[in-house]
């Protein structure tokens, strides 16, 4: 009977800790913008849905997360709107032509700009530290 109490107490402590951590994450208001491009937050938020509607994540990554058939697109907006637009309209290799409306293309590009604004995803631009941690080049070890 005593062991059941230990199990219940441990269970409750872990669950509460998890809920607290979740709450801290949900209520985070930091914008994480490290570059100075102007972003229309509402358009970028719609662009995130365009990214999902055409399932871009099946082949592409953001910060290395996604499918591996195509390149990482975290910083692709640095190449400009017309570069992205051209790929969407013509396709290449395994990438088909996507028939996005003009509005969808702009929303998607605004989303990609907002992603680029948060940092750099190229692993070669990260520094490693004695404790095994990594940081992007422009940041210092906390």
């Amino acid at each position: 009977m005593k062991s059941v109490h230990y199990i219940a107490i441990t269970y409750i402590i872990l669950s509460i800790s998890y809920l607290v951590l979740s709450f801290v994450i949900y209520t985070d208001t930091d914008t994480y913008q490290v570059k100075s491009q102007e972003i229309d937050v509402s358009t970028a938020s719609q662009g995130r849905l365009v990214w999902q509607k055409y399932n871009c994540q099946a082949c592409h990554q953001l910060y290395g997360l996604g499918g591996f058939l195509g390149p990482d697109l975290t910083n692709v907006s640095q190449k400009g709107f017309f570069y992205v637009d051209a790929f969407l309209k013509t396709g290449v290799n395994s990438m088909p032509e996507f028939s996005l409306s003009e509005e969808e293309t702009h929303q998607l590009f605004e989303f990609l700009k907002s992603v680029d604004n948060t940092g750099n995803a190229a692993p070669a631009t990260y520094n490693t530290f004695w404790n095994g941690m990594i940081q992007p080049e422009h940041e210092t070890q906390p």
Binding site: T31, V34, L69, N93, S94, Y126
Partner: protein, 441 residues
């Protein structure tokens, strides 16, 4: 007592086995794209084949675990649960599956990675999961004390529901306005939900160990509960390694780093202890259940090694965004989850016998060998891409992919061999000769 082969548990398991076959076929087709980029480009392409493959396999795990838990509970407790709710549980899943596959075939996406279907179908899965929770509670509420696998199933069911809802917070615009926060929530949920369904699968493994060894010791001892809490702890907090490159708050990275990789050591210890308790006669009597469980033990070592490296940020830097991650995902879903669930399906759906043909016994070894080759080729693809990451000047992406084709061909061939051999194994469940029910139930 002979089981009803059309009981809800058996129907869940059979639906799951069909999903496994579909997942393997879609995966084999998707692998061809690495060699022939224009393959099915204008019909499906990877845009549709990847979600078809991933969702089929995820649903195989969820439904097989559900079916196995149903059948196990029929054995464990005489307490009855509502037949109507059981039927509704299965019907909601079937409706969700029909809708999800229809949406993929018509290229109607809108969801996020691993759950790419339109969000409306998530409601059906959510309702089905609430029914599962109610049915589970109806069965176990009077049981005392709970063996560790009941705790694992309870935790898996409750937390899957919570995390599944968290997985859809993005539908509220406020949650997706800040990209980094949105990514943290997405990958927190993605990491934890895997932990939640692993709870269901590992619970099934403990239940099988108890049945095969005919000893209840592994399910009640301190090690089993220590492992359970460690797994629970990891499920809740061990998702930060997905986000090492994402510029999130440092505490996210530190928690992921600190929490990682303790649970596997305990799990291996329990499995090892159990392995020593099983007599030769019992291994003969439970031919495939025993072998598939033992195979999962071997793949645990493989994945433990990979996972340990991936949990160190400075090493993760070279593995993240490459096929190392695919190898880890395939290693756990095929090597661990699928092996355990196939063991459960053999134990619960087919008679315990040794009359399987030599061909079936050979197929078992083809599965293991082709899986090993499949994972090795994925690791080689990972090394290839990792080297490209750090080349200066960096060649174009298309050039790197072209040079990777030798390894990709090995990945495709071993993957197709693996798919064919698993499909052959699954056909045993649908052959009249074997499908007579398990006399020991």
């Amino acid at each position: 007592m002979k089981p009803n082969r059309n009981s809800i548990g058996a129907l869940f398991l059979k639906t799951a086995l069909i999903l496994l076959v579909l997942g393997l076929i879609f995966g084999a087709l998707a692998s061809v794209i690495y060699i022939v980029p224009e393959f099915l480009k204008n019909n499906f392409g990877l845009t549709a084949l990847r979600p078809l493959h991933v969702s089929s396999v995820v649903f195989w795990i969820l439904l097989a675990a559900t079916g196995s838990i149903y059948l196990a509970l029929e054995n464990i407790t005489p307490k009855q649960s509502s037949t109507l709710l059981q039927k509704l549980h299965l019907i909601f899943w079937w409706m969700a599956l029909a809708g999800i596959f229809y949406s993929y075939f018509t290229k109607n996406f809108g969801g996020r990675e691993y759950w790419e279907y339109p969000s409306v179908y998530a409601l059906l899965i959510g309702i089905a999961w609430v029914l599962f929770l109610i049915l589970f509670i109806q069965k176990v509420r009077t049981m005392r004390p709970w063996p560790v696998y009941i705790w694992m199933w309870m935790t898996g069911i409750v937390y899957f529901l919570f995390i599944f809802i968290e997985n859809y917070l993005w539908v509220i615009p406020w949650f997706r306005e800040i990209f980094v926060k949105d990514m943290v929530i997405q990958w927190k949920a993605a990491g934890s939900i895997v932990g939640a369904y692993n709870m269901l699968v590992y619970g099934v493994a403990f239940y099988l160990m108890e049945r095969i060894s005919k000893q209840s010791v592994p399910s009640y001892n301190k090690w089993a509960f220590a492992l359970f809490f460690l797994s629970f702890f990891n499920m809740l907090f061990n998702w930060g390694h997905h986000l090492y490159l994402v510029p999130a708050k440092p505490y996210i990275h530190y928690i992921g780093y600190a929490v990682s990789m303790t649970e596997w050591v305990f799990f291996i210890k329990i499995l090892w202890n159990w392995h020593k308790q099983v007599t030769e006669a019992e291994t003969y009597y439970h031919y495939f259940p025993y072998r598939f469980l033992l195979a999962s033990n071997f793949w645990l070592f493989f994945n433990l090694t990979l996972a340990l490296f991936m949990s160190i940020p400075a090493i993760n830097l070279y593995m993240h965004g490459t096929h190392f991650i695919t190898a880890h995902a395939m290693g756990t879903t095929i090597g661990i989850n699928t092996m355990i669930l196939l063991a459960a399906a053999f134990e619960q759906l087919l008679p315990k016998q040794s009359s399987f043909s030599k061909g079936s016994k050979r197929t078992f070894w083809v599965i293991q060998l082709s899986l090993l080759l499949f994972l090795v080729f994925l690791l080689l693809m990972g090394i290839h891409k990792s080297i490209w990451f750090f080349q200066d000047p960096q060649p174009p992406f298309s050039e790197m992919m072209e040079k990777m084709k030798f390894w990709s061909a090995g990945f495709m061939i071993s993957g197709i061999t693996l798919a064919i051999s698993v499909v052959l194994m699954v056909t045993l469940f649908f052959r009249k000769k074997f499908a007579q029910g398990n006399p020991n139930h």
